[in-house]
């Protein structure tokens, strides 16, 4: 591989649009995935992420825009001539072939003789720790084993990019962590490129080198996990990626202060969304873990309820102006129901958005829903 080739993105989408009848599924997506990068696309059901994956794999073609794979324009290339493979949500293994037969399939249809397939199949099965099961029938495998066979099938001919379509969502919860680790190990070891789609924000934050948040067919933000989580560009991104309290506030005429819960709070100069916002009603997002309960602080509030989890507590408080917040305290706080406490937070913990900006369907995760419940289940159409 020459220097020039290695700097070509593995996947590049330019202005990709897709409509099904009246419905716009993808509304102008621009995207680049570098070689060896893990890009995770998250979004609620119907955000278009499955369609996007199918457009990269070639199962769907875009109505407008271009798909480039390793520097070649593949917009109208059929799926069987693209240098990418998909790991399907339901595995989509071939039931009439055994484990080795499934893994050998991409090599066999490419016309490789059996003698040369054999070592590659063994190698791929070794990557996923399935070499001892080469001759087993597919219907005799567990869900986790099927997933690993599907992964080996996708890796056997070393594609330019591996497309992972919610690869963990069909697995039992106790298998997910292990499979995620395996995916990470293989990626690092083999220098693989992943386009990973999921509706699970924890999975996304954990495995992604970069995360793209899709909503209604638009890419609302794309960047490293910390950046997307800490500096969300839209209220939707802020609520989709984690628990968050939404408070209504007013930006004062001077533009330097914020009025929430009956208090005036100075706006941090580095607060990303703040400079562009005109004075008037604003929406303030505050993550539960960014708020500290202490003897002094910005606003005073009364403890309404308290959930104890051993290493942490989740406390619901009520402040002046009918303002309710959920606060996570780690280590656990001693504040008891009925206590009056001070709440404090750093200025850059406040995420400011225009008052009329929609938070998106995931905003109900704001108040105390567990991460598992917060994820929006998506069925591939």
């Amino acid at each position: 591989m020459t220097q020039d080739e290695s700097s070509t993105p593995a996947v590049e989408l330019v202005g990709v649009r897709k409509e099904f009848g009246e419905r716009t599924i993808l509304d102008g997506i621009d995207l680049e995935i570098a070689r060896g990068e893990v890009l995770v696309l998250v979004g609620p059901s119907g955000s278009g992420k499955s369609t996007l994956l199918k457009i990269v794999s070639g199962i769907e073609t875009p109505d407008a825009g271009e798909v480039w794979l390793s520097g070649e324009c593949c917009t109208n290339t059929p799926p069987y001539r693209r240098p990418v493979h998909t790991v399907f949500q339901n595995y989509a293994l071939f039931p009439h072939l055994d484990v080795a037969g499934n893994v050998a399939f991409p090599l066999a249809v490419a016309g490789m003789p059996a003698s040369r397939r054999q070592p590659l199949v063994e190698q791929a099965l070794g990557w996923v720790h399935m070499q001892r099961h080469a001759r087993r029938r597919i219907d005799a495998l567990s869900g986790g084993e099927k997933q690993r066979v599907a992964l080996a099938r996708a890796l056997v001919d070393r594609p330019q990019c591996v497309l992972l379509d919610e690869p963990l969502s069909a697995l039992d919860p106790h298998l997910r962590a292990g499979t995620l680790e395996l995916l990470e190990e293989l990626q690092a070891e083999l220098g693989l490129t992943y386009l990973f789609i999921t509706h699970d924000r924890e999975e996304a934050l954990r495995i992604g080198h970069r995360i793209g948040v899709l909503n209604h067919g638009r890419l609302e933000q794309i960047g490293p996990p910390e950046e997307v989580y800490r500096r969300p560009k839209t209220a939707f991104v802020a609520s989709f990626l984690g628990k968050i309290n939404w408070l209504s506030g007013v930006k004062t005429a001077s533009g330097r202060e914020l009025e929430i819960c009956g208090c005036h709070i100075p706006i941090a100069s580095q607060s990303a969304a703040a400079p562009g916002l005109p004075p008037g009603p604003v929406k303030v997002g505050l993550r539960p873990e960014d708020v500290r309960i202490g003897p002094s602080g910005r606003i005073q509030a009364r403890v309404v309820s308290r959930l104890f989890f051993g290493d942490s507590t989740t406390i619901r408080v009520q402040a002046a102006g009918d303002c309710e917040l959920v606060v996570d305290q780690r280590p656990a706080s001693d504040a008891a129901v009925g206590d009056t406490v001070w709440l404090d937070w750093s200025a850059d913990a406040m995420h400011l958005f225009a008052g009329d900006e929609p938070e998106g369907p995931a905003s109900d995760i704001a108040v105390g829903a567990s991460p598992a419940e917060a994820g929006v289940k998506e069925q591939v159409p």
Binding site: P78, Y80, T86, A92, L93, F94, H96, V109
Partner: protein, 266 residues
């Protein structure tokens, strides 16, 4: 535990009913087997044991030809039927439910149409077209019901098919042709074999539709046998029944063995 008289008599009643049903079903077959070893040349009078019936089974004039005709017509008609029925089942699976149900009903209609209606309408149809009646018309006629049966069997199989394997095959680099020949057809194979055997069996023993569409030359086995029976049932005819019965039994067993793994995997 003490059983009441009622329970015991009920049990025996059940056994008697079963025996009666089985006797009704298999006594004629058993009789045919017995009479196939008859020495007498005239049907139902037992005169002594002989293997002449079997020795002469294919020495009868025209019988071997009729057997070949039946096998060839059955093989061609069921192959065409399974091909058409499978393509129809695959194609219709992508239709919208309402139009699909309508189309499925139309294709399956010959299943519930009395044979005599199919036979008569085909006979009129062929003569209206001035087609020379013979093997061709018999095969076409057998396809009329054959496609229906094959379609119904294959529709069930196609409905059980997980279509993402087709996308997966393309994703793995298979061309659409390879995806069908290496994935879809192998997955459907057990059902294809069952459908083929099913249509073959129906074609092989069809009398009425064949009789009205065959024209002068194309005598199949059932028609030949019908012609012979005007002179009584000879041991040769019985012997032929036994041979056919055994062949059918073998086919049915093979089909049921093939169907089992297909059901287990769904």
């Amino acid at each position: 535990m003490q059983q009441t008289l009622e329970q015991i008599s009920l049990r025996w009643l059940g056994r008697a009913a079963l025996a009666l049903v089985l006797a009704g079903m298999y006594l004629p077959v058993a009789m045919t087997v017995v009479y196939s070893f008859n020495e007498s040349k005239i049907g139902t009078v037992w005169t002594g044991f002989s293997l002449d019936g079997y020795r002469n089974v294919f020495a009868q004039e025209g019988l071997l030809g009729a057997l070949w005709a039946s096998l060839a017509i059955g093989a061609i008609a069921s192959s065409l039927s399974v091909l058409a029925g499978t393509l129809a089942a695959l194609g219709l699976s992508a239709w919208r439910p309402r139009t699909r149900l309508l189309a499925q009903g139309v294709i399956a209609l010959p299943l519930v149409t009395p044979d005599v209606i199919i036979a008569l309408s085909l006979a009129m149809f062929f003569s209206a077209l001035r087609l020379e009646q013979g093997f061709g018309t018999v095969i076409a006629a057998h396809c009329v019901f054959g496609i229906s049966y094959a379609f119904v069997v294959m529709t069930g199989a196609v409905q059980d098919l997980d279509y993402t394997v087709y996308s997966a095959a393309l994703d793995c680099g298979a061309t659409p042709w390879q995806a069908y020949t290496r994935v879809i057809v192998p997955i459907l194979a057990p059902s294809l074999v069952v459908a083929w055997l099913f249509v073959f069996a129906l074609s092989f023993d069809d009398f009425l539709i064949t009789f009205l569409t065959k024209g002068p030359g194309a005598d199949t086995l059932p028609i030949k046998i019908y012609g012979q029976m005007r002179f009584g049932i000879k041991p040769e005819t019985s012997a032929l029944f036994v041979v056919l019965f055994l062949v059918t039994l073998g086919g049915a067993l093979a089909a049921s063995r093939l169907l089992k793994p297909a059901q287990a995997s769904t």
